[in-house]
Homo-oligomer: 210 residues x 2
DNA sequence: ATAAAATATGACTACTGGTCATGTATTAAA
DNA sequence: TTTAATACATGACCAGTAGTCATATTTTAT
């Protein structure tokens, strides 16, 4: 029987609608200035219904972050030129990330939020698994690093897994810094661009083989 | 007359007492689970009085972060061996930062909080200036980098200012990652230590001259 | 047609950051 | 010493909001 399947689809659809509504509200007014009542109104549902589909405001926000990661992963994929070396691919991915932050700064803020807090949501085993499944750009990055190690363009004394996580965390630090500390950066008489370029230069030297 | 000065001192003292109390409460229960009433009780003052000395809960938290930066800066200073090269000093500072996070994880959380949010408190010009004054470890780091460029042990194609900010932001990314994502890291079968070592290795290669 | 299950509602509660009218202590002036 | 003025302290109170739950409606199964 297809009824339960249809119901499942509808439920999924409604979850999506709620996230759509939340996105509009959160992106417009910021997470902390948005209320669940506003989200409910935007979704044309009652507040109680939101809690039928999500455990908390934070969980909706987490869903937005998941969307962000999906978009980011797609941009990573698109950025790759198959005929280039793993090392060159790495630079392409880096550029794609910078691009993503420029184009989708609101989505990036959602990523920052969950990168910088040991969110209770992530405490569940299955959410950890999520982190390394479809959603996550990191897994793809590991592949590219592996390719670079295999083709001899990336240093081989650090495992692909560790290297990928290191670069991911580092780069998040940089992007977080330039996207939340603009005033301090300009006060110091530096340009965000310079910091990003500097990051690329350091990494290039830092991971190149020999 | 010394009266107004004494009053000034007393006021400063009281501010400190309040921050002491807040620290106890925040560190024990976490910022979000702590209430101003609890802080008031711990400080043996009424809640209204807290607001005579601080504009908001966030401002008290900001003060805790400032303390964290002072401690960190001291550890940076202590870590330096005068007779070594700028390049070697950089590694010492890096180690000192890792040390700080281990020893003072609560203080580090306060730093993370303000590194990862474009906090409204920092919007004022004078707070930006603070960022580069007594409190801030970054200024000292710039000096060390400059030393390294001068003694030829650190690459000179990136300005000391830019390089320092880049490394600072990067390293924050790493430390934030390992201190908030332990579960994900271990789930991936990696050790936090490995990521930190990997970071050091990349940076060493990345900033060494020639 | 009817019972049961699933879904939706919005008034309500609990909590908490921040305020403010009302003190009380301290200092300056008469 | 008395009085006025200023600075400091208080806690009952307010406003805003995440999350709940008894009730109502719709959908499905019998």
């Amino acid at each position: 029987m297809g009824i339960s399947e249809r119901k499942e689809r509808e439920k999924e659809q409604r979850r999506n609608d709620i996230v759509d509504a939340a996105e509009k509200v959160f992106f417009k007014k910021g997470l902390n200035n948005s209320t669940m009542d506003e989200v409910a109104e935007e979704a044309e549902l009652s507040k109680g219904t939101l809690y039928l589909y999500f455990k908390s405001k934070e969980e909706i926000h987490f869903e937005i972050k998941s969307r962000a990661l999906i978009i980011l992963k797609k941009m990573f994929h698109k950025s790759i030129s198959e005929n280039k070396t793993g090392f060159e691919n790495c630079a392409e991915i880096g550029k794609a990330y910078v691009d993503f932050v420029k184009k989708h700064s609101n989505y990036y803020k959602a990523i920052i939020h969950f990168e910088s807090s040991d969110c209770s949501i992530c405490e569940f085993r299955d959410k950890c698994e999520d982190f390394f499944k479809e959603d996550n750009p990191l897994e793809f990055f590991v592949q590219i690093i592996s390719k670079g190690i295999a083709d001899g363009t990336i240093r081989s004394d650090i495992s692909a897994n560790v290297l990928a996580q290191t670069l991911w965390a580092q780069t998040n630090g940089i992007l977080q810094f330039v996207s939340t500390k603009q005033k301090i950066i300009e006060f110091a008489g530096v340009k965000a661009e310079d910091i990003i370029n500097s990051q690329f230069e350091i990494i290039k030297k830092g991971i190149k083989n020999k």
